[in-house]
Symmetry: C2
Subunit: 406 residues, 2 copies
């Protein structure tokens, strides 16, 4: 209920609200906001709706539309996919508090407080083998052909295609994945009961059957412009890589690519004729001096650039071709899968995992910092990754190794 209230009371990606909730927890934060007993910066982004927000009505509307609410406390929360968002947000807030960076503004890379979802898929599995496919609404026939073909090929190989459900590249990407019998995640800027564009109601329904609809906004919300921008960070976060199929010079798809870059995720771009304005943004991404996008011409190249963990899983057999509805994170389902998960960790995360004191004893973040020799900030950033991979679980006080990893 607190999650539903918080998702209604402020616009998405509000930094003061996120910080307030991080500090006080969902229940306390929601009660304080409802009572108007909050710092000025939280009040300013919640005042307009703090008494009018009606989470019970939103939850009832959700239920009528087959929509469910997820918060980080839910098993199906995509901890793994959002670990980079979480780490980036904490780092930026810490930098602001240390005075080395301006105060984070709206639209920063902060995790959502809650998500409304509809469909058969499991969101927690997204981010392992997933690619965000983005591009212009005013796509060319070439762009739509490529989006559809690539998404078909990715879905055939068990890769989840994440996109925004818009006209043009988005729709072609969803349809390609669905045509392959694969899984597609559609992240909407408005409420899931209000397909946008409205002509895409059938696309929404088909996506819910084979995959998932996701939105940060409760049912009934209109897709405002600002919500598209904050929505784009979720598309980037839910993809292990972001593939830009077609984009004009000032396309919103470049915004998604920028988020992916900031999250440390590979940005891939499909070239096209230099005579096409719709490929100009892709070419610009490839030409960047710093962190250029990788030029890709085939599904195989997309898979190769998604990182070694992806490629290893591809070779691993059963994981390939498995839609996310078939189970949780592949990594937690056996010794070989555990090894895969371990292999996918960076050095810091491995150190943190190695710092756990044997089976079943729970430790706090501060203890882990001492045991692993890693700074507390790194420990905090690594924990959601380890949790998302099923290697550790939250305990009453702190964390402990999951049974599979002990």
């Amino acid at each position: 209920m607190a999650g539903a209230y918080l998702s209604r009371v402020a616009e998405p990606a509000s930094v003061p609200l996120w910080m307030f909730v991080q500090r006080h927890g969902y229940l306390t934060a929601a009660a304080a906001i409802r009572a108007g007993d909050v710092p000025a910066e939280v009040a300013s982004c919640t005042e307009a709706r703090r008494t009018a927000a009606d989470p019970e009505a939103d939850l009832a509307a959700a239920q009528r539309n087959g929509i469910r609410l997820l918060t980080p406390a839910d098993e199906d929360w995509p901890h793994f996919a959002f670990a980079a968002l979480q780490a980036t947000a904490r780092r930026r807030v810490a930098q602001w508090q240390a005075g080395v960076r301006a105060r984070p503004e709206r639209g920063e890379l902060i995790p959502p407080l809650a998500l409304w979802v509809r469909g058969a898929g499991e969101l927690s599995a997204v981010g392992f083998r997933s690619v965000a496919v983005v591009g212009s609404r005013a796509a060319t026939a070439y762009g739509e052909h490529i989006a559809s073909e690539f998404s078909y090929g990715l879905a055939q190989r068990g890769v989840v295609v994440v996109s925004g459900g818009a006209y043009g590249i988005d729709a072609a990407a969803h349809r390609g994945a669905l045509a392959a019998g694969g899984c597609s995640v559609l992240v909407s800027a408005g409420g899931l009961d209000r397909p946008y564009p409205s002509g895409h109601r059938h696309l929404y329904d088909r996506t819910a059957e084979q995959g998932l609809l996701v939105s940060e906004r409760p049912p009934g919300s209109a897709p405002h412009r600002q919500r598209f921008l904050s929505r784009n960070r979720l598309i980037a976060a839910l993809g292990a890589a972001t593939l830009v199929v077609e984009a004009a010079h000032r396309s919103g798809a470049l915004n998604s690519a920028g988020y992916a870059r900031d999250l440390g995720r590979p940005v891939l771009a499909v070239p096209g004729p230099v005579t096409s304005a719709m490929s100009a943004g892709c070419h610009r991404l490839i030409q960047r001096d710093e962190e250029p996008a990788r030029l890709v011409t085939s599904v195989a190249e997309v898979l190769a650039y998604c990182g070694s963990a992806e490629v290893e899983m591809d070779a691993g057999g059963p994981a390939a071709g498995r839609p996310p509805a078939a189970g949780g994170p592949a990594a937690a389902s056996g010794p070989a899968a555990w090894q895969h998960a371990y292999d996918s960790l960076d050095v810091v995360a491995r150190s943190v995992l190695d710092g756990f004191p044997g089976r079943r004893r729970s430790v706090t973040e501060a203890e882990l910092s001492r045991l692993s020799g890693q700074p507390i900030s790194q420990v905090i950033a690594a924990l959601p990754v380890l949790q998302g991979l099923g290697l550790i679980t939250a305990a009453r006080e702190g964390y402990r190794l999951a049974s599979v990893a002990s």
Copy 2:
């Protein structure tokens, strides 16, 4: 006469012949070959034609066809453009002799011993503001359009377009430059009196009117396969950069790009639809892990990637738009131009130039090595560059500063 004989007696790019001529000079080398008094490796590449070669007949045929012969002793020899070839060849031979590299084979990057040219342009000016435009013979309409448009734009800005006169991209490049009233250099694999393909006789004639035809082979020579490969090194060497417009996976244009890379020249590639096999080679070049080609989408980008010296000249006013027939190297015609030339030098070449002992006194290579503190091999490599830029001139014994630089 010795140049004409040497250009007939062996196939182009023969390493033993080049080394023999470097050691003994043109006259002595030619006489020794004619007499059969040469080391085995020189004999093996000259024996077949050493008595039959008829330089007087070749020169007469050339004269009848408006073709003239150039050797490094001629004012119009492109020392500047060939400096990288010269340096690469010397380095590789030295590495071979030092035992750190296999013996250089045919097709290595060695300078030509002589060139047959026809047309109004001055070859010595090529290489300052020039771009080699290469691509597939089986080009698509898109590729031909781009080759023609880019070459038109480059020629409009006073850039010489260098290509091979073949069907497809080559022809479109030449025609684009000619249509702009600019200068185009066509490097042929066979004799200049034998246009190849034969349907391109009119293209050859028009190119000779506005630019230059160039070949390493004397009149009457057929365009054999091996001659295309050795011809490609000259196209790469005559371009300040090499632009690949369209190329399939195993296109000869990739061979030209490889030569350009080996010479340290920028390789630029135009992207295209990933559905087009004719763009696959361009995409592969851009994807290379080592020394990838730069993706270019416009004439302005081509100019920007041609190196700062080019861009400076572009901003310099008179040099821009000047066809090479209008004068020698731009750098030697005044203090500002001298500064441009100086600025374009690398550190070693500047040291060598700084080592010259004031006005008019000539020095040998060994003296310069001592005066500049640079190894003799570096001095030898730098001298043609300085000479090509008009900063120094050959003296009776060694070199001296040119009057403009003293």
